[in-house]
Amino acid sequence: MHRYIIKRLLFLIPTVLGVTLIIFFVMNVTPGNPGRMILGPNATAAEVEAMNEELGYNNPVIVRWFNYLKGIVTEGDFGQSYTTKLNVFDELWPRFLITLRLAILVLLLSVCIGVPLGILSAVKQNSLMDTIPTMIAFFLAAVPSFVVGILLMYVFALKLNWFPSFGLKSTRHYVLPVIAATICELSAYLRFTKSSMLESIRQDYVRTARAKGVAERTVIWKHALKNALLPVVTSIGMRFGCLLAGMVTTEQLFSIPGVGSLIVQSISTKDEPMVIGCAVMVSICFTLLMIGVDLVYAFIDPRIRAKYSKRR
């Protein structure tokens, strides 16, 4: 088991290298001119050139990538923002935490509601417990979360004035953004839990259990569920990554200073170090989460557990 954990953690290194390289490469497909951006239109060409040289911008992409990584590893330095001149990490970290907190809230709510609903609708297939949630989830699959957000904002913030419509100062501020993001997220959880559960119920080993005379309840909870949860755990991990980035619409809509709106803002000001910093940070978080998912997987599935415990 330790071997497995170490092996998965080591995978973090090529991932971070790869992610930064990909992002660096993409950002440099078209040549930029950060010196001009920083100094403004009134600076002379020579000043701009000197600035570019100072930033190391004239070096090839690979060299700059290497220097960037060296900065992160040796000093935890993610570079300096072109627009605010502040340290990228200092600016990014608090906003990242805000997004993370929101995303975790949404994740918890969606898992706690969506997964049981999915199981229920698979078990009670074709009853009202199945058709109603399934139909609602099917419809919500066609609704972007920001549309739900706008609707909630219109009704509960603007018309009824029950909740604030922007910012994140108090608990009340969290209600609308979290619900808006949860509603669509939840319906996705319902759908993939249901289909995984249905698939599992259809397996031969479930029939074997029934043939033993096992009560239907035990068949579902003991035999079908554990197997059905394996793909669900993976899907939850995958979706959480998308959720972290996807919070951007909620952040924009409710004017929340999260990492998503920071990226959008940095893109519009062409603040390259900030864009790269945000992207790298979110990707690392996502990778760590996927490692966690793999560990949970190994815990549930004896096939994976056995592969690594033998060599211990």
Binding site: T15, V26, F138, A141, I150, C242, I267, C278
Partner: protein, 305 residues
Amino acid sequence: MTENNAPARSAIDLLNDGEDINFKRPSQVKEILRRLKKNKGAMIGLFLLIFIILVVILADVIATYEVGVVQIPDNRLAHMSAEHPLGCDSYGRDVLSRLVHGARNSLLVAVAASISSCLFGCTLGAIAGYFGGKVDMLIMRALDIFMSIPDLLFTMVVVAALGSSIPVLIIAMTLAYFTNYVRLVRSGVLNLVDQEYVEAARAGGSSSARIIISHIIPNTLGIILVNVTLNVSSLVIYQSTLSFIGLSLPAPAPEWGSMLASARVDMLRAPLLVLFPALAIILTAFSVNLLGDGLRDAMDPRLRN
């Protein structure tokens, strides 16, 4: 999301306990079409989709592009009238025109990205699965790393680097959606490579590429087709998301997402301005989902049992 990778099945499989067997039956394609025609949801989806496609084709007849982009201060938040059937937005632009020309942008980008991500992903998956060994390892490892960047984040980075235009959007969205196909086709190929008829084709002197195209691709075609269809729907939403956060086509190009973003400012005074683009997005995505779901059921009716 690919929920099930099973090939075409029917009630007959219940009899055979899932084993393949040849009965005297009508051809598979005919059978799938017959089941699809019986599926009310899919037919409604198809009908709505044809309507939307007609709107896209006839966009210029319904409303000229100019009234949707030229700002006329006198028309700010104008109510519905014969001249402006759905009224005007807060810049005095005709909403109907923006809606129908926005449909053109949305569908064009979504369909193009769905198809190109399929072609790109399938090619890569076929290469990885067929050649195996180091090629496979290289592709899959690169894919693992690539997939550690959340889709939307990567798309934002691409748009940040290349600026926003229709080709850039298609490329960015292709890169966000191709990964599923790589895994799908790769595992399909891995399952099939060992099977006898591929051995036979190889022994018969067929080239690798030929074997992939003539034997392996047709076997996974059903699932791929369902995926391409369903992806159009999520790509419509994806693009509206980009456009909502201001990273899609630059203003004043008509787009549903940006229409929503600008309409929400005047939401209290003109709630209908939010309603129209929201309905357009939902209707399009919903009808594609209906069709795609029906297609999947027609190919694998066991899912509905």
